[in-house]
C-alpha cells in the first residue's frame, strides 16, 4: 500500500543518514518525460549495465511469489506476455503492442478474444512456444494450490481454448472495461519444463524453477546469488535477433538507499529506479549522470476514518482540507518534483478531470465551517470542543517514509492554527496496514497507486470496506454506481463523463484530503543510451539499452 521515498534537502551527511533509513521505491508509476538527448550514433552491441534495486525479486516464477515491482520487472525480461502495454495513457487508455501474439481480434459480442501467436518464437532450449503453453499458464495462474497474487485478474476468464498450435482463444464470462489488461497479465510460462512438477509442489520449489529456467524474453539468468545480485545475460534464441544489445545486465540488491546513491555517484552502479527529490541536486551536478523524471501514479492523501465522528461529516472533512496548506507541504517535501493532488485519477492520465481545481488553503473558511458545525474553543485552550469533547485525533503514517513523516508534522502544525489537535504516530508498515484494514484508526497519511485500468473500486466502493482498500470506510451509493458503470464500460469516450462525475463527487465529499502527486527520479549513467524507464516498468525496454563507448 505504501510507497517509500525520502526527505528534504539537507547537508550531505544528514541526507545520507536519512535515506539510509528508507526502503527502496517499488510503486508502479506512469508517463515518461525528459530523456537524454537523442543519439545520432547507431547502437552498439556488448557491455554490462549495473542496476541497483532495494529488494530482491521473489524468484523466477512470479506465480508463487508476492507481486512486488522487482519480481514483475525481472519476470517481464524473462517471459514474453501476449502483448506489451505501452505507457501512452496521457490522452487515451493504454495501447498494446504485439509481443508473443502478432495480432488479436474480438468476437462480435466482445466475450471472446482470439490471439495469433508468432511462429518464429522458441523457448531458450529451442522448443517452440505454442498455444498449449498459453492455456497451461492460465491453468497455473488460477490453480487453487498456487494462489497467485494476481489470480483475481483472471476470474472472469471462463476458458482458454487451443485452436491450433499458434492460435489461442480466451472466453470471458462477461464484457467489462479491463478485459485486455486482465488477459495480458503475466508472462507465458514453459509447460514442457515447469509442467514436470505438480502445482501442489510449486510453492516450495523456488530453487527448482531457478535451476530449470527456460525463457522466451530477451534475457535469461546466468547466476542468482541470494541477497546479492542477479546476472542477466542475452538469450541467444530471443526472437528479435539483434537484441538485446547488452551482454549482461547485473541487478544488484542494495537494501540501503544511501549506499545505492553513493554507488551511482561513484560509478559502481549505472541506474537506480528512484531516488528522493533531495538527491536531485547531487545527481544533476554529477557530469556522468542524467536524471530521468516522469510522473508517478502514486496519490498520497490523508485518509479520514469516515466511519468515526467527526470525520463522518463531509463538511468537516472539507474544513480539514481547507486548513491544510498543501502547497507548502509540496514545496517543502517535493519541491519542483511534486504538485497538489486533486483526485485519485492523477493528472497524468487521460481520464483526469482538468476542470477540478484544488481546494484553496483557507483556514478562516475552515474555522467558519467548524464553528457552524458546533466546534468552539469554549475553555480557551486553543483546541475546539463540541459537547465537551475536544477535536483531537491521532494521525498515523508508516515508519521509514520521510516525506510522510514530515507531512504529518506539518499537518499537525497547520491544523493547530484552526484549533484541531492532531497527534502524529509513526508505525511499522505491517502494523499500519493491520490498523487501517481493521478500521482501528482516526486518520492516516498513506498512498495508493493507480494502475492503468483506472479501476478505483478497490479504494472507493463501499463493498471494498470489507474486502479491499476502502480503508477510510467511505460509502456513497452514487459513487458505487459510477464505479460499476465505469468497470463495465468498454468505450473510453463513454467512460469519460462517468470519470468526470466520479471525480466531482470525490472532490466535494473529500473522503480523503488529497495531498500530492510526485515525480519519479531515476539517475542513470550517461554511457547508457536509449533507456526509457516508465511508470509501468523501470526496465521497460532493457533489450534496447546500449552502452556508448567511452571517449579516451
Amino acid at each position: 500500500m505504501v510507497n517509500l521515498m525520502s526527505g528534504r534537502l539537507r547537508p550531505l551527511t544528514i541526507a545520507l543518514l536519512a535515506v539510509s533509513l528508507l526502503a527502496s521505491c517499488r510503486g508502479r508509476e506512469e508517463e515518461t518525460a525528459p530523456q537524454p538527448p537523442a543519439q545520432a550514433e547507431a547502437p552498439r552491441r556488448g557491455g554490462t549495465v549495473v542496476l541497483a534495486w532495494g529488494a530482491e525479486p521473489g524468484g523466477v516464477n512470479e506465480l508463487i511469489t508476492p507481486a512486488t515491482q522487482i519480481t514483475a520487472e525481472i519476470a517481464d525480461r524473462l517471459f514474453l506476455r501476449l502483448l506489451e502495454e505501452q505507457p501512452d495513457f496521457a490522452e487515451h487508455p493504454p495501447t498494446f503492442a504485439p509481443l508473443l501474439a502478432k495480432s488479436y481480434e474480438w468476437s462480435g459480442d466482445h466475450k471472446t478474444i482470439t490471439f495469433h501467436l508468432r511462429e518464429d518464437v522458441v523457448w531458450s532450449d529451442g522448443v517452440p512456444i505454442t498455444a498449449e503453453d498459453v492455456r497451461w499458464t492460465w491453468q497455473a495462474q488460477v490453480h487453487p494450490d498456487i494462489v497467485w497474487d494476481n489470480a483475481h485478474m483472471k476470474q472472469e476468464i471462463r476458458d482458454v481454448e487451443v485452436v491450433d498450435p499458434h492460435t489461442v482463444r480466451f472466453h470471458f464470462n462477461r464484457v467489462y472495461a479491463k478485459q485486455l489488461l486482465d488477459v495480458n497479465e503475466g508472462g507465458v510460462l514453459p509447460k514442457h519444463v515447469w509442467g514436470q512438477i505438480p502445482f501442489s509442489k510449486w510453492r516450495e520449489s523456488g530453487d527448482w524453477f531457478k535451476e530449470h529456467l527456460v525463457v522466451s524474453g530477451g534475457f535469461t539468468v546466468a547466476s542468482w546469488t541470494p541477497q546479492q545480485e542477479i546476472v542477466l545475460v542475452r538469450n541467444p534464441r530471443y526472437f528479435r535477433k539483434d537484441r538485446p544489445y547488452l551482454d549482461r545486465a547485473v541487478m544488484r540488491v542494495t537494501p540501503d538507499a544511501g549506499s545505492a546513491i553513493t554507488q551511482v555517484l561513484n560509478g559502481e552502479v549505472d541506474f537506480i529506479a528512484q531516488v528522493p527529490p533531495s538527491e536531485a541536486p547531487r545527481i544533476k551536478a554529477d557530469p556522468d549522470l542524467n536524471l530521468i523524471t516522469y510522473w508517478s501514479n502514486l496519490w498520497v492523501a490523508a485518509f479520514w476514518n469516515n466511519a468515526r465522528p467527526p470525520f463522518d461529516d463531509p463538511e468537516v472533512r472539507r474544513a480539514l482540507t481547507l486548513a491544510i496548506d498543501r502547497q507548502a507541504i509540496v514545496d517543502t517535501i517535493l519541491g519542483e518534483y511534486g504538485r497538489i493532488g486533486t483526485t485519485p485519477i492523477i493528472t497524468a492520465v487521460w481520464a483526469h478531470d482538468r476542470t477540478i481545481q484544488p481546494w484553496p488553503y483557507d483556514p478562516a473558511e475552515a474555522r467558519r465551517i467548524l464553528a457552524a458545525k458546533g466546534w468552539k474553543d469554549t475553555d480557551g485552550d486553543g483546541v475546539l470542543e463540541r459537547n465537551g469533547k475536544p477535536f483531537t485525533f491521532e494521525l498515523t503514517t508508516n515508519a521509514g517514509n520521510q516525506p510522510r513523516n514530515d507531512a504529518v508534522v506539518m499537518i499537525q502544525n497547520q491544523l493547530k492554527k484552526v484549533g484541531v489537535q492532531a497527534t502524529p504516530r509513526v508505525l511499522e508498515f505491517n502494523t499500519l496496514v493491520e490498523e487501517t484494514n481493521s478500521g482501528e484508526f482516526d486518520a492516516t497519511v498513506t498512498g495508493f497507486t493507480l494502475d492503468t485500468s483506472l479501476d478505483l473500486t478497490g479504494n472507493f466502493h463501499s463493498r471494498s470496506i470489507a474486502d479491499g482498500s476502502n480503508i477510510m470506510r467511505y460509502t456513497n451509493p452514487e459513487v458505487d454506481r459510477l464505479l460499476e458503470q465505469i468497470a463495465g464500460q468498454t468505450d473510453p469516450e463513454g467512460a469519460r463523463p462517468l470519470f468526470g462525475r466520479l471525480q466531482e463527487i470525490l472532490h466535494r465529499d473529500q473522503p480523503v484530503t488529497f495531498l500530492w502527486e510526485s515525480q519519479r527520479l531515476s539517475p542513470i549513467n550517461k554511457r547508457i543510451q536509449d533507456a526509457k524507464p516508465n511508470v509501468l516498468r523501470s526496465f521497460f525496454n532493457l533489450e534496447d539499452w546500449w552502452i556508448k563507448p567511452q571517449t579516451p
Binding site: M1, V2, N3, L12, T13, L16, L17, S20, R26, G27, T48, V50, A55, G58, G59, N61, T65, P66, T68, V147, D149, N150, H152, W202, R203, E204, S205, G206, D207, S223, P226, Q227, Q228, E229, V250, R252, V253, T254, P255, D256, G258, S259, T262, Q263, N266, E268, E428, F429, N430, T431, V433, E434, E435, N437, F448, T449, G458, A466, D467, S469
Partner: protein, 321 residues
C-alpha cells in the same frame, strides 16, 4: 566435570526450547500478515484465505505450534514463505558470508581491544590512558549503522578507495583467483572494520580493567624482580591471568556480534544471516524467522556453554559450585 557438562547442556537445551517457543508466539502476535505484504495489495479476501490455508495459518495457534514443534523435532524447519525454498537452504546460503564477516570483525575487535587495553593499563592515568578511554567510549557509543554510513561516506564517496557495498565486484567472475580474493577482502574491509570497531570499545575497557586487577599481584612483582622484561611480564604473565573475564566477554559479545552484523549487513548489502532475518521479519516469514532465531540462539547458547566450560577448566571452583 562430566556431570557439570551434562547439567549445562541440559540447561542449554531447555533455554533453546524456551527461546523458540517465545519467538513462535511473539512472531505470530506481531501485527501484520504474511499474506498481506505487498504495497497496493489487490488480492481478494478469498485469495488471502486460500493462501493462509496453504501456509497452515488458518488453524488455531496452539495447533500450529504443535505441528511446527513436531516438524522441528524431525529436523524439518519448513519452507520460507517469501523465498519458496527450505529454511535450512536459505540459512546455509547466507551463513558463509556472516561467518566471514564475524570472524574478521572478531579479529579486529580483539586484536585492537587487546592492544589498546594493555596500553591503557600499562600507562594508567596518563594522557595515553585518557585518550584510549575517550576513543573507546566514543566508538562504543556509536550505533553501528551510523559508523557504517560514515565509513561509506568517507571511504566510498569522498575518498573512494573502497566499495560501498556488496561482497564482490560486478566483474569478479572474470578475475583470477588471487584477484577475486583481493576483491573480496576489499569488500570485506569496511563492514568488518565497522562491526569490529563498534565492539572493540567494550573489549578495550574490559582488558584494561581485568589487567589492572592483576597488575598489583605478587606474582607479577616476582616476575619483574626476576628481571623479566615489562613486555613479557604483561603479555605472558599478566594477560594470561587477566584473560578469564575476557573469555566471558567473548561469549557475551556473540549476541552483540550477531545483532551488530544485522545492521552492518543491511547497510553494506552484505548477504548474510543478519540481512536474511531482517527481510524475514519485514515480510512476516514465520518459518524463516524461527529458523534463523533458532540458529542464532544456538550459536549464542553454545558460545556461553563454551565459555562456561573454558572457565570451569581454568577455575575448579566454578565446576564444583
Amino acid at each position: 566435570m562430566i556431570s557439570f557438562l551434562l547439567r549445562r547442556l541440559a540447561a542449554s537445551l531447555l533455554l533453546l526450547f524456551l527461546v523458540l517457543t517465545l519467538t513462535f508466539f511473539l512472531v505470530h502476535a506481531a501485527p501484520g500478515d504474511p499474506t498481506n505484504l505487498v504495497e497496493n495489495n489487490r488480492m481478494t479476501r478469498e485469495q488471502r484465505e486460500s493462501l493462509r490455508r496453504l501456509y497452515g495459518l488458518d488453524r488455531p495457534l496452539g495447533e500450529q505450534y504443535l505441528v511446527w514443534l513436531k516438524a522441528v523435532a524431525r529436523g524439518d524447519w519448513g519452507v520460507s514463505f517469501s523465498q519458496q525454498r527450505p529454511v535450512t537452504t536459505a540459512i546455509a546460503d547466507a551463513l558463509p558470508a556472516t561467518l566471514l564477516l564475524s570472524f574478521a570483525a572478531l579479529v579486529i575487535d580483539y586484536g585492537v581491544g587487546l592492544l589498546l587495553g594493555v596500553a591503557a593499563a600499562r600507562r594508567r592515568g596518563t594522557a595515553t590512558d585518557h585518550g584510549i578511554r575517550f576513543a573507546s567510549l566514543l566508538l562504543y557509543s556509536q550505533p553501528p549503522f551510523w559508523l557504517g554510513l560514515m565509513a561509506i561516506l568517507l571511504f566510498a564517496y569522498l575518498w573512494p578507495v573502497l566499495p560501498a557495498g556488496g561482497m564482490h565486484s560486478i566483474d569478479a567472475d572474470l578475475m583470477s583467483p588471487a584477484g577475486r580474493l583481493l576483491d573480496l577482502l576489499r569488500h570485506l574491509l569496511l563492514p568488518a572494520l565497522v562491526l569490529g570497531f563498534s565492539n572493540t570499545g567494550l573489549t578495550t575497557r574490559f582488558v584494561r580493567g581485568s589487567l589492572l586487577d592483576v597488575m598489583g599481584q605478587d606474582y607479577l612483582r616476582t616476575a619483574r624482580a626476576k628481571g623479566l622484561s615489562e613486555r613479557r611480564v604483561i603479555w605472558v604473565h599478566g594477560l594470561r591471568n587477566a584473560i578469564n573475564p575476557v573469555i566471558q566477554l567473548f561469549a557475551l559479545s556473540l549476541p552483540a556480534l550477531l545483532s551488530g552484523s544485522l545492521i552492518t549487513e543491511v547497510v553494506f548489502a552484505w548477504p548474510g544471516i543478519g540481512r536474511l532475518i531482517f527481510q524475514a521479519v519485514l515480510s512476516r516469514d514465520y518459518p524463516l524467522v524461527l529458523g534463523v532465531t533458532a540458529f542464532s540462539a544456538t550459536i549464542v547458547i553454545l558460545g556461553n556453554l563454551l565459555a562456561d566450560v573454558l572457565h570451569a577448566a581454568a577455575d575448579p571452583r566454578v565446576r564444583d559450585a
